[in-house]
């Protein structure tokens, strides 16, 4: 389990990195390495060039900017988890990050790395979708932005051109009162989720004004449970409403494999949606 031969590059600036990415054949970006390094060790990936992003200071960092929190792609998951604004204003993001791997992998693993790896079960992918993060992408044709919902094109396939890289993302800091919950089912602590659910409820007049429900691990890309979101709007926040929302999972067409059959993923999704909604409502400021 030793990595295959490659050439190693260490750009000092974003421009340099973009130039390398456009100029080198069969190159891969090395962020925190928590997914790419195992793939190299198992020889699932054979890049000719690795471009190490760890020496580009501009790519890392967290800044509050008006109503948004801007997070550099190379920000360590640990730093985002520990950030006071995340703790105070985006608790669901912290809740998801706490379930990403373990202390040692969060110390090294980056936010952007996880998003670009785009494992269907990754917590960050699901929570960034749930929070409608806006992605910043750089390439030789300049910078562009993309809503997270449009980022996953398919199984582990981000909407990046071969010469583009993710530079950061922005989370809108919630203006209206809301309650949110990220919950998942994994066999062991720190494992990738089998299924995860993120729910956000915006109360209005003691009822549910608006609901957002995102599922990870169900399909190749995160799934918004739009039928349930629509059904919940204007409803009383009670067990009956949440059970009805969870029942929408019956219409899902999840991934199916020997380890986790589709029927079981569907039921896990229903359970987690019900629990996430219940907890989200408990956390909502209904006054």
């Amino acid at each position: 389990m030793k990595p295959p031969v490659f050439e190693y590059h260490r750009p000092a600036s974003l421009t340099e990195a973009v130039d390398m990415l456009g100029g080198l054949e069969n190159a891969r970006l090395l962020a925190g390495g928590q997914s790419l390094m195992p793939m190299l060790a198992m020889r699932f990936a054979f890049p000719d060039h690795l471009i190490d992003l760890n020496r580009i200071p501009a790519l890392a960092g967290i800044a509050e900017d008006g109503g948004t929190l801007r997070v550099g792609a190379m920000t360590r998951q640990r730093d985002l988890l520990d950030h006071p604004v995340v703790r105070a204003r985006l608790p669901m993001l912290a809740e998801a990050l706490e379930q990403v791997g373990h202390r040692q992998t969060r110390n090294r693993g980056t936010v952007g790395g996880s998003l670009c790896h785009l494992d269907p079960a990754a917590e960050l992918v699901a929570v960034a979708t749930a929070l409608d993060a806006e992605l910043e992408i750089a390439g030789p044709r300049g910078a562009r932005t993309l809503p997270m919902a449009a980022f996953p094109l398919g199984f582990m396939t981000p909407a990046l051109e071969p010469d583009e890289l993710l530079t950061g993302l922005r989370f809108a800091l919630p203006a209206l009162p809301q309650g949110a919950c990220f919950t998942e089912f994994a066999r062991r602590h720190g494992d990738y989720a089998i299924v995860s659910a993120a729910a956000i409820l915006w109360p209005r007049d003691g009822r549910i004004g608006r609901a957002s429900i995102t599922l990870g691990g169900v399909g190749p890309v995160p799934v918004r449970l739009e039928a349930a979101e629509a059904a919940l709007a204007g409803q009383r926040a009670d067990a009956e409403s949440f059970a009805a929302a969870a029942a929408c999972c019956g219409a899902l067409d999840p991934m199916d494999d020997a380890q986790v059959p589709a029927w079981y993923r569907r039921r896990l999704a229903a359970t987690l949606v019900r629990r996430a909604l219940t907890t989200a409502w408990e956390r909502a400021d209904v006054r």
Binding site: M1, K2, R188, H189, D191, A258, Y264, R267, R275
Partner: protein, 783 residues
């Protein structure tokens, strides 16, 4: 050596160590092993390196079953830094790996060749080996080796009709049968018959250190060394020597630090022979370190069995007979253990219960998976699950309490020793001592079983899905036939203890040092224990089958007593006292009448017994002795596991809320280490009960080849554990009264958790297989 120190092969009765805690035996002293290990100074296999060494990489079959038509090695050979590439043709003169245990007639055609020839029988089977300048290059080269394999349909179900292994040989080389009593009459006359079909999943030891083997040949001394050895150095040495056509004295094996054994490490594997052969042929040291993905397909698997069991009982729930037919999924070859696990399963299934009649047929079946062999509590984890499922089924059938059914069937102290007309591992099954009902009561009391039932009922009323479970087990330990230990005191009073035992990390040095110190009257920290080396002692039986403390411990006790007697005899002459008036305390000779006044340090006595001492003229010098301990019977520890589980109705997840292991081991040399054995064993059992499984797809491709897919429990999955280390039933079979403590923590976990899950589901018999998966439980909740 003096007359008193001469080798003593007599199984003469030894003085027994008085029951209860001694000065150092029975104490929770810290381990001699720890200091280098916590400093990072350990010497594990991968830490051994020699100048000019080559790295070996094994090319493994990507196919579960097929005809090996050819292997193209040209590209690999052409890679710079590659020194050799071998396929079966290059090692055709090396016979396949032999059996060391349970050699049932007819198994020979099923032995594993060191490189596949003609046929591949499991994904992961060694096809070729590459030798290169370093491990990275070796892996590059291995990737360039291209086998051409014509796929054949794989056999993946051991319960299916046997297929052809080789012309004239089926995939069922043998059926292990044992029987006593009138089984047919018992079933004819039974009040009730329960019948179950039960499966145990494929899992194994999976130590945290992978295997490793480093060989070097010293032509100046014509000596072949193998480092990274474990468990069975002497047998492995003898076989390596035989297979390579060398005298045993020209081959030496060295065990350094060992990162866990659990049954799988230290057997003779193809890679051990390949590095030795390469070191001889290439005249350079050769190092092979297994990587984790290799480990998951190359190192012994274990456990996979399917049982179809029937039990006949009377109206009171007393067992009249058991009739069990089981299928053992052996994998692609029969390895060193022969039919051992099948034999143990068949011999140990009756466990702690009075069983008037018994019949078992263990079908030993080859499949196209990684070969299987022993893993901690082999044959017992499986059959305790099966037997205890039966006991729960009897309770349900007759409307009796689960505990009461067990109580009615347990062998009582009055019936000890309890001989069964059965054998296992070539020894008669004689349960040597025990108070099974007594330990059951102690455990239930400690767990608060009665109050617990009320509490669980209350919680169920509040909507929770919770239950309690029980599993009673009998272990076996102290497999003979013999072990020897040599103890020598040097002029500084330091003691060297040379043993043919091995250590796989469990604390052998400390335990042997404690026994030696107790008998000799010294500080255990003055004892340097040598183990796992063939160059320091001629014979050894290694470390397996929970045998070291019983066998090597008893030999240590005898040898230390002999050294003590020699020391007192010599000191008596020097001090002009009678030996019977003297003793040794804290490494000094003292008068019994005044033990606080040291008269002479032990080193001083040793100096007087040196080769240049006038006292030794005409005698063999040295304050040293070698003693042996022989045993024809195993000794049988026993215990109870109790569990409380909570099931998440939404996911089917089973969480163990709390757990108790009670284990009577006769005497705990070091209770802290015994607790460590039980706790570690428990978590491995928890893995087998709920998490760990080597899975295969329908083509025989292994699916559990990483630590992300093979789920070893982390700390977050482990419940609070209570332990009872019981010493109520010392073994009459050895001077220390000890029984092995290595496997009781694992043995009953599958049984107790299955029982608790049934109880939580309020459905007796719901659990029919291990591991108990969330989706299975979830499905049960819906039906």
């Amino acid at each position: 050596m003096s007359a008193a120190g001469e080798k003593d092969y007599q199984a003469s009765p030894s003085p027994r160590l008085a029951p209860g805690a001694g000065r150092v035996v029975g104490q929770r002293v810290t381990r001699l092993e720890d200091a280098p290990l916590v400093r990072g100074d350990g010497m594990f296999a991968a830490d051994v390196s020699f100048p000019r060494q080559l790295a070996m990489r094994v090319v493994r079959s990507p196919i579960a079953h097929g005809r090996l038509l050819s292997i193209d090695t040209a590209a690999a050979r052409a890679l710079p830094g590659v020194h050799a590439v071998w396929t079966a043709a290059d090692v055709a003169d090396i016979p396949p790996i032999p059996f060391r245990a349970t050699k049932v007639r007819g198994l020979e055609p099923y032995c594993q060749p060191i490189l596949a020839a003609g046929r591949v029988r499991y994904a992961g089977e060694p096809l070729a080996v590459v030798f290169a300048d370093d491990a990275y290059l070796a892996e590059d080269a291995a990737d360039l080796v291209v086998p051409d394999i014509e796929e054949l349909p794989p056999v993946l179900d051991a319960t299916a009709e046997p297929a052809e292994f080789l012309p004239g040989h089926s995939t069922e080389p043998t059926v292990v049968r044992k029987e006593y009593g009138d089984v047919a009459a018992a079933f004819r006359d039974a009040h009730a018959i329960v019948e179950l079909a039960l499966s145990v999943g494929r899992h194994s030891g999976v130590p945290l250190e992978t295997r490793g083997a480093i060989a070097r040949y010293d032509a100046s001394r014509d000596l072949l060394e193998l480092h990274g050895a474990a468990k069975k150095q002497h047998w492995n040495r003898d076989e390596i020597a035989r297979l390579l056509g060398r005298p045993p004295a020209g081959v030496h094996l060295f065990e350094g630090h060992v990162g866990g054994g659990f049954g799988v490490r230290g057997e003779l594997y193809p890679e051990d022979l390949l590095v030795c052969l390469a070191a001889l042929r290439l005249r350079r040291p050769v190092k092979w370190i297994e990587d984790r993905r290799e480990h998951m397909v190359a190192t012994n698997h274990s456990r996979q069995q399917h049982h179809r069991i029937r039990a006949a009982v009377d109206g009171q729930g007393r067992l009249l007979a058991i009739d069990d037919v089981f299928f053992h999924d052996q994998g692609g070859y029969v390895r060193t253990h022969g039919a051992r696990v099948v034999d143990l399963a068949a011999g140990m299934l009756p466990g702690p219960y009075r069983l008037p009649a018994y019949r078992v047929a263990g079908h030993f079946r080859l499949t196209n998976k990684t070969p299987a062999a022993t893993y901690r509590a082999p044959g017992r984890f499986e059959t305790t699950f099966v037997r205890e499922r039966v006991m729960d089924a009897i309770a349900a059938r007759l409307g009796l309490d689960r505990v009461e059914v067990r109580r009615r069937n347990l062998v009582t102290p009055a019936e000890m020793p309890h001989a069964r007309p059965l054998d296992t591992l070539g020894t008669a099954v004689v349960l040597d001592s025990g108070d099974y009902p007594g330990l059951l009561d102690t455990a239930l009391d400690r767990f608060g079983w009665t109050a617990l039932q009320a509490d669980l009922a209350r919680r169920r009323g509040a909507g929770e899905c919770v239950g309690a479970g029980i599993g009673f087990f009998v272990e076996k330990s102290g497999l003979g036939p013999s072990d020897g230990v040599r103890i020598a005191v040097d002029k500084t009073g330091g003691v060297e203890l040379i043993s043919g035992a091995a250590s796989v990390g469990q604390g052998v040095e400390t335990v042997l040092a404690q026994i030696c110190a107790e008998a000799l009257g010294i500080d255990y920290r003055r004892v340097r224990v040598v183990r796992g080396r063939t160059d320091r002692i001629e014979f050894g039986n290694g470390a397996h089958a929970s045998r070291v403390t019983v066998m090597s411990g008893s030999a240590t006790y005898r040898a230390a007593l002999a050294v003590r007697a020699m020391a007192l005899e010599t000191a008596a002459g020097l001090l002009q006292a009678a030996a019977s008036e003297l003793s040794i305390v804290d490494g000094h000779v003292v008068r019994l009448a005044d033990p606080g006044a040291p008269l002479m340090p032990l080193g001083e006595v040793a100096r007087h017994m040196g080769p240049d001492s006038a006292l030794m003229v005409g005698r063999t010098p040295g304050l040293s002795a070698e003693r042996w301990f022989h045993s024809a019977h195993m000794t049988y520890p026993y215990g109870v596991h109790l569990a409380v589980v909570r099931i998440d109705r939404g996911t089917g997840e089973v969480r163990v809320e709390r757990y108790l292991v009670a284990n009577d081991i006769g005497r705990a040399i070091n209770p802290m280490l015994v607790e460590g054995q039980l706790a570690g064993g428990f978590v491995q059992g928890l893995g087998g009960a709920l998490f760990e499984e080597f899975r295969y797809d329908e083509t025989g491709q292994p699916l559990s080849t990483t630590f992300a897919d093979y789920l070893i429990p982390t700390l977050a999955e482990v419940p609070p554990l209570d332990l009872i280390v019981s010493e109520q039933a010392p073994s009459p079979l050895n001077p220390l009264g000890v029984k092995g403590a290595g496997e009781g923590g694992t043995n009953g976990v599958g049984a107790a958790i299955a029982s608790a899950v049934d109880d939580a589901l309020r459905r007796p018999g719901a659990v029919v297989s291990l591991p108990i998966l969330p989706r299975t439980v979830h499905a049960l909740l819906r039906t």
